[in-house]
Symmetry: D3
Subunit: 283 residues, 6 copies
Amino acid sequence: MNNLSDKAQILVEALPYIRAFFGKTIVIKYGGAAMTEKELKTQFAQDIVLMKYVGMSPVIVHGGGPQISGMMKRLGKEPKFVKGVRVTDAETMEIVEMVLGGTINKEIVTLINRHGGKGVGLTGKDGALIQAKPMKRGGEEMGQVGDVKAIDPQILRTLETGRFIPVISPVGADEEGRSYNINADLAAGKVASALSAEKLLILTDVPGILDDKGKLLPTLSRKEVQKLIKKGTISKGMLPKVEAALSAVEGGVRKAHIIDGRVPHALLLEIFTDRGVGTEIIA
Amino acid sequence: MNNLSDKAQILVEALPYIRAFFGKTIVIKYGGAAMTEKELKTQFAQDIVLMKYVGMSPVIVHGGGPQISGMMKRLGKEPKFVKGVRVTDAETMEIVEMVLGGTINKEIVTLINRHGGKGVGLTGKDGALIQAKPMKRGGEEMGQVGDVKAIDPQILRTLETGRFIPVISPVGADEEGRSYNINADLAAGKVASALSAEKLLILTDVPGILDDKGKLLPTLSRKEVQKLIKKGTISKGMLPKVEAALSAVEGGVRKAHIIDGRVPHALLLEIFTDRGVGTEIIA
Amino acid sequence: MNNLSDKAQILVEALPYIRAFFGKTIVIKYGGAAMTEKELKTQFAQDIVLMKYVGMSPVIVHGGGPQISGMMKRLGKEPKFVKGVRVTDAETMEIVEMVLGGTINKEIVTLINRHGGKGVGLTGKDGALIQAKPMKRGGEEMGQVGDVKAIDPQILRTLETGRFIPVISPVGADEEGRSYNINADLAAGKVASALSAEKLLILTDVPGILDDKGKLLPTLSRKEVQKLIKKGTISKGMLPKVEAALSAVEGGVRKAHIIDGRVPHALLLEIFTDRGVGTEIIA
Amino acid sequence: MNNLSDKAQILVEALPYIRAFFGKTIVIKYGGAAMTEKELKTQFAQDIVLMKYVGMSPVIVHGGGPQISGMMKRLGKEPKFVKGVRVTDAETMEIVEMVLGGTINKEIVTLINRHGGKGVGLTGKDGALIQAKPMKRGGEEMGQVGDVKAIDPQILRTLETGRFIPVISPVGADEEGRSYNINADLAAGKVASALSAEKLLILTDVPGILDDKGKLLPTLSRKEVQKLIKKGTISKGMLPKVEAALSAVEGGVRKAHIIDGRVPHALLLEIFTDRGVGTEIIA
Amino acid sequence: MNNLSDKAQILVEALPYIRAFFGKTIVIKYGGAAMTEKELKTQFAQDIVLMKYVGMSPVIVHGGGPQISGMMKRLGKEPKFVKGVRVTDAETMEIVEMVLGGTINKEIVTLINRHGGKGVGLTGKDGALIQAKPMKRGGEEMGQVGDVKAIDPQILRTLETGRFIPVISPVGADEEGRSYNINADLAAGKVASALSAEKLLILTDVPGILDDKGKLLPTLSRKEVQKLIKKGTISKGMLPKVEAALSAVEGGVRKAHIIDGRVPHALLLEIFTDRGVGTEIIA
Amino acid sequence: MNNLSDKAQILVEALPYIRAFFGKTIVIKYGGAAMTEKELKTQFAQDIVLMKYVGMSPVIVHGGGPQISGMMKRLGKEPKFVKGVRVTDAETMEIVEMVLGGTINKEIVTLINRHGGKGVGLTGKDGALIQAKPMKRGGEEMGQVGDVKAIDPQILRTLETGRFIPVISPVGADEEGRSYNINADLAAGKVASALSAEKLLILTDVPGILDDKGKLLPTLSRKEVQKLIKKGTISKGMLPKVEAALSAVEGGVRKAHIIDGRVPHALLLEIFTDRGVGTEIIA
């Protein structure tokens, strides 16, 4: 009986967190190990569905770089990157859309459905959710790499009334209908701002933001983050995530977290316990 | 980190139960040790508020025999019982109403409020919730001991729209406005039927229904319960609880449970785990 | 037929008042003879239910000093007052709650129900309606005498959607759940402000506010009232009522009336005729 | 004060009637002296507006025979009747529509508005409320005398949501848009049925249905009425009213009343007192 | 098949206009040839019903000068005009109301109903839509010629919820219930302002506003219109229409159009094509 | 002006059809030339958006056989068919999902968005819209070819409240989350039944169902269709379309149409004119 009683205790300890986040929107950037390892995928889906049932509104934005590169190779096309950004010619764009919107998005939807949620997959084209424009940095040779011009959250609000969980592929179109490949961290940050989300949770494969000596920095203000960027403490791979987090917090999101997606149930631990699992960035 | 991960695991294990009971009404007969011991009171309030937040509609019906007897003695009046039922003359009735509706009811409301819920105390008079009539068994000499003539659940439905948790004292009035003292188990059973509740949970100070050898009977059908009553296996003290459970199940409640309120977080264990903590009576 | 025609005429004369108060909230402080004499009690209930049916939203706040003192004596405890305020030690507080919330409140609810309304009794604890704090004047030795820290009117709004008539006992709790005995006039004034009521009607056992020569003053501005207080024209017994009226008017209530509850159907006469039955205090 | 107290008493005596008719639809056939004498007109408007404010839904259907004949004469046209029914050639039809819909209807609307209601005038053409067909009895030579083919109550329901009081001229159109002059009693009966009204009140200039000796018959069953018709006790002038009453009661209206519109406030007396003012016909 | 394909093409060309006016209110002043010639009447009704079905909210205000004069003559009364305004003594007023509200209004309602719409006729008295006051210009001798004191659009909003098409006769009442004859152009302009309409369309029997040489001026700003008035370019007959258009545009209506009602389907052409059929006046 | 007037005439001729289909659901199976030729694609999008604006609820189900085969070849995999059905091993299934859900679906969404609609792309996985099961005919060697087990239309209803146009790829999942390739005609028929659609429109590249002599059969009853199937008059290519049409009509859809998608604006012609453009199958 002891064991059962412990269980009850743990459920009860979640109560203050459930109350605090009741009715709040939580945007999750999904990627890395949590999206590829079987065990972690299952746990991710459980966490998302639980969040939904206890009254939160989770919204998922996912990436899919490795899968895109894989399909390119199968089609005999060599992936090319400039400063970490994929050069996206028309053929690459087609592959990006197929892999993100056709394969990965629907896999996540199915994963959620199998754990009792009702996922609905979207790209930025559906309901004109993400209006895109060409990314300025990099110039013409980058091809259809896009930036977010505007977010129209109506489709997300509509899905919420039906108790659905939106799963978003970061592809957008401009007014002429031309497709753009958008960085998933960037898209997640903009969606979080547009929804005035309570939190943006970015799943990574590192413990969080580390200082020069490799020690985890659990809480950082915007100013502190900017200093770390200047000092070069933040690695290139981490930079887009940190920038998305900053842009979200500047856009009205209360907190952005860079968390370790390799930790089992990382989302639940972040939401339901005092000890976070990574770095939180606050206004 | 191991420990945190265990916590997450336990939260996730609650998910199938949360899904199963989402939007369902659970009527709880509150009494015994769970209503007098400090630790158990706190745990009861936590359990109720958690149930509310994860989407259930808990409705509480409470008793208060010992406190009524205590106040009677303070007022120089000796409590009298016939076959376990309190003889209720006019003065006793006044004390019953004061103690149940004025003291105990508001204590429970405050307990719930302090743990983050919004309790609202009612007697059967409020919103004409319980229309009473004289109890037939026992006759005139029992005084104002009442039976339930009808339940008008409108006030309970109205409170639910405002996310309030109703707490009910088992006192009713007849058409002339005369007050009646109603057994709390009986009232709970009738309220559960009127609400077509998913479950009626009766908190007791015993492990459940026991067989002749004192072994817990975890699941009983209505027929089996009736056999046990005939055989005299069920003790006199347990009888009103068992009858309330039977009447609820006959009135459309899916399951009635007689559970051990001395177990910490007995409600949560009953709702959120496969191993119940007492006896369930099913149709 | 003449007689019938007169009846019709009187109904029709009520029309302008019905139109003027349609959809408006009227807070009534109930006490004195109107709460103790049988005839007057019936008339009070009829008036309240009629107000509800013709489209107003009556909200009742009641006192109960004599009944509390009566129960204290039955329990062998001598009531003690300092400057007209009951010294409220823990045992007294318990008696206050029992008598107000358990006895008087439910009597009023039953009275209303018997005349065709749907009363619902509340104390300030239910739905956390009245958040209390210790009263400053008087100091520690006064015990649990409380002031109003805040009113949360959500429970009153919720009951209104269900066409219920709220009946409030002036007992509140602080954040730790400690109970407080609050003056009923004070509570009524605060509830009226919180609801932006059209009127606060305070039932008394006097004709209204009188001048030095004992003549009724039918209408007074806030300034005039303050002058009368300074001059000492207002008696000690009347002072809390006048202060509650002033606080209501300062808090946004359009008019506060101190009326003679000994007059049959005093409420209806106040609402439905040009000739009021007491003193009105206006902004 | 005595006098005021009497007033209050009368208001309170209305309460059971207000409760009984709360939310109910009352269809009133308006005509006769109540529509021509100044005093009675004012009283009619007061009664209707009062009914609306205390929660009923009054719907008015009016006639206008004398005014139509008056206008015909002014236009040099002699009114012609066959068995009490106006022969309605095209020119007469035009006059009927002008006088009913243009003059009388708007006079009633203005009367109601001036007493605090919000009247909205309709003919059977508005919102296709009354779909008409030629009256069978009488044949071709009667011209555009119509019967009711169907009632579409949607416009009445819509006006009710806006708290408007509908005032209906008994003119309808067939599918080709051809106008028909419909007997107002007939139209009122059909409208009452279509709305499942609680009551149909037909205002006349007689005390009600009288027996052979001229004594008022206060209550009649459908069967009794049919006997009286067979026996010839019911006068020709009264016949259409009695038939409308019968058809309403057969169509689901609870009671139909033929009342004396010359009595001041006849409507209020009928609704708000036990002693009706005419004859009631019940199922 | 070619022909069918052209048809489809034309439907598709309407799409941008349907999108632009979806959910918008369009007030139409109906009069002139479009109200008298059979063919044009049918086309008007078709246009209005189509507008309703594709998501606009048309509101019609009609005149009826010639018909009023006709009826006056039939009643042996000579119409009299001062500066183009009908002198309106009491008898004339009665005729105005009969003809506008009783005859013309219901004709238009029937016309709309026969083409699949649900018309509801109103005068300014219904729902107290138009509160009138005596027209200043002209003085006493003009009789009951009125100006608009206020518009209460609630009845129009209520009818819209039921998908009805309001048809308004320009007759209003003052607070004492006295009737006023209001210029239909003036009334249409005020109704359009009160509804914040997208467009006011005034049907006339001329091609639009012409310059000195008789050439149509397709678009005019408010300033340009005022210059034309000063210069005397605008004819007396056109002046009230131009003033109504100006007042609408000043009152918040986006565009007012003076269009040629003799053109078949003038309304549709104005709404659904780039080439308007008259003069538009813009802010 | 003549030309404009013709335009108006055509718009007005659409009115009876707009009225007839107002608020009705129309399911469109999109494929063939209408999905590949630029001009026809634009016209399709215009037609769909117009249907939405005039009050219908179009729902699109699309195929994509040629594009799937194209991508298979690019990936070095030879498409294989048995009796016209694609053999779907795991790798093929992945390609099917990528091409349908990632490429074609989003192309159609973008097309609709560019013409003023708000498309939202779905596969049968989103919101668990299509629950699939293995197709019986053909057996194991067909791989993941699926049949429809159930349709959950909630996601379609939810999107309708937001005025979105659903675009569905015919891919479903079973309870274990395994994907199935479903014939688009079949899926469209089942979706139409689940929505109790007014019409199912199947776009083909033939004029409709032809008799033995190649003459178009404009209207066929279910019985007649079954006879034609038995006789072998219906070609193999046409068979799945005819079966989908039959299943829809048997499932409660009022009419199913096999129409010639090569005709410009085929959808509008079918909906808005009396002369259909193919074969209609009726109950």
